[in-house]
């Protein structure tokens, strides 16, 4: 049981790190750093010089830095996959009677295997924008499942958590609504990114404003929904911080983090909408989205537990 909890925590944290490194691959333009999959230029470790390339791969594709950025993400992906797999097995062994824990564990194991394979398809399809988008959304889904499952495991061993806390009524429902909005917003974001990429390919020498001009109304939709979502999360986390009685440390910290993150997302999103697609902005934006969804889930999990009173669902 202890092992299950440890693996669950490790898998969850590692998954968020993997989303970060995956984003880094994307924004550093290293997606084709290894043109083949799962090997890199036909080797299990990326080659160090162009002489080591197999004959069937065009030498123009070789850039040792980009190869290692891409391969690093693949290796971390392997580690994360194993962590999630072990967690799922342990969950089936120890908590087979608790569907709310073993189901997300097994689902995330299946999804992570699929996502790894799908990453290979992304490379094979030369980073086709819609496949890249799907890869990101799959990773968000896995991170969400793991977050939920780890929190449930925590409550299993700390049954008293949230039992003495009192939270303002209705916030849990609004948080769930915000989470649904966040999924919609992430999907819009990936579609906007795909549209920008298509336009960048067609006009490689254009600049930020030229590319953005050519993108359709989706940019307005993403910006508007972003502002609404940020306002919403700021109000909700503010309400939790002001009106909660004896909030648990988790709820308190998550509320503060959500508040700060919302402000950061607004600033960075604004920079990207009006100034520049600087890679570091894109990375923070993408990872911030993953973290926002994770924090919303944590709060929903905590508040639902408290709102349901002492009923520990089986």
């Amino acid at each position: 049981m202890k092992a299950l909890i440890r693996f669950s925590y490790a898998a969850t944290i590692a998954t968020y790190v993997l989303i970060f490194t995956g984003g880094l691959v994307r924004v550093s333009g290293a997606g084709l750093g290894c043109p083949d999959w799962p090997k890199c230029f036909g080797r299990w470790l990326p080659p160090t010089s162009v002489d080591q390339l197999p004959a069937h791969i065009d030498p123009s594709l070789f850039n040792v830095t980009l190869a290692w950025i891409e391969y690093g993400n693949r290796m971390l992906g392997m580690v994360v996959g194993l962590l999630i797999l072990i967690t799922a097995i342990l969950a089936l062994v120890h908590v087979r009677h608790l569907r709310r824990i073993w189901m997300p564990a097994v689902a995330s194991a299946l999804l992570v295997a699929y996502t790894g394979w799908q990453g290979g398809q992304v490379v094979a399809a030369e980073l086709k924008p819609l496949l890249v988008a799907a890869h990101l959304l799959l990773s968000f889904l896995i991170a969400s499942l793991l977050t939920w499952q780890t929190q449930q495991l925590h409550y299993l061993t700390h049954p008293d958590t949230e039992q003495s806390s009192r939270y303002p009524k209705g916030v849990a429902r609004f948080l769930t609504f915000a989470w649904a909005l966040a999924i919609l917003q992430s999907t819009l974001g990936t579609q906007l990114r795909a549209a920008v990429k298509t336009i960048q390919d067609a006009m490689p020498l254009g600049g930020h404003s030229m590319w953005l001009d050519a993108v359709g109304p989706i940019k307005h939709a993403h910006l508007m929904l972003g502002i609404i979502l940020v306002a919403f999360t700021i109000v909700l986390s503010g309400k939790l911080l002001r009106s909660a009685e004896r909030p648990s440390p988790l709820v308190q910290q998550s509320s503060v983090a959500l508040l700060l993150l919302s402000v950061v997302m607004l600033l960075i999103g604004g920079m990207m909408a009006f100034a520049s697609y600087l890679p570091i902005f894109q990375l923070i934006h993408l990872w911030g989205a993953a973290l926002t969804m994770g924090l919303l889930l944590l709060l929903i999990g905590a508040l639902r537990r408290q709102e349901g009173g002492s009923n520990v669902q089986r």
Binding site: L32, P59, S60, L61, N63, D201, I280
Partner: protein
């Protein structure tokens, strides 16, 4: 939770964020540098050919422009249609810049007369000087392909290379890209953009 503990949490959270941002910045900088580092293979030798409009086109016409060069022949049914399609995609992608030119050299000069090349240019949608089609005696073409561009030219016309050569503003060969595959064409587009940014070294 005590305010001291809360402060500690905040500080450690910020430290982790700062460390990740630092790591990402380093990786991004490395990636940027590695992309800027396009090797110089060699200087191209002197040559003087003519274009489809019977105007001279030689080594000097490569200076000051970024050029993508390939060897083709108009009757070819194998690689050339793909090469022409890829070249015309680049021609349209970079239409905003006079700094980038595209040069196709025929390896079948007996058949590919200037009229034939003119028709081929028109068929590929060429409407300006950014894409030119060159004609020269076959021995000179072979010499330029093999010695200048380091592209094999045996058993012509069929045996021409399917690779595009990238040439910088100083008329130096910078790379080869297989036009029959998608990924090298993506790399070529990136390297053209990179050379545009590269100040004359």
């Amino acid at each position: 939770m005590s305010s001291g503990k809360r402060f500690g949490m905040l500080i450690s959270g910020l430290l982790v964020a700062a460390a990740l941002a630092f790591f990402a910045t380093m990786v991004l900088r490395q990636a940027e540098q590695s992309r800027a580092d396009i090797p110089v293979i060699q200087d191209l030798p002197a040559f003087t050919f003519v274009n489809q409009d019977d105007e001279p086109f030689g080594r000097a016409d490569l200076n000051g422009k970024i050029s993508v060069v390939d060897f083709i022949f108009t009757r070819c049914q194998g690689a050339c249609p793909v090469m022409a399609r890829e070249m015309s995609e680049l021609y349209y992608a970079f239409e905003g810049s006079d700094e980038i030119q595209f040069v196709s050299i025929t390896v079948d000069p007996d058949h590919d007369t200037l009229e034939v090349l003119q028709a081929y240019a028109a068929a590929n949608g060429v409407s300006d000087k950014r894409w030119q089609f060159l004609h020269a005696p076959i021995e000179e073409v072979v010499r330029l392909s093999e010695e200048g561009f380091l592209l094999p030219a045996e058993n012509l016309p069929m045996g021409h290379s399917p690779r595009f050569a990238l040439v910088d503003r100083q008329g130096r060969l910078r790379g080869h890209f297989n036009a029959l595959e998608g990924k090298p064409m993506i790399a070529l587009k990136q390297q053209i953009s990179q050379l545009v940014r590269e100040s004359s070294r």
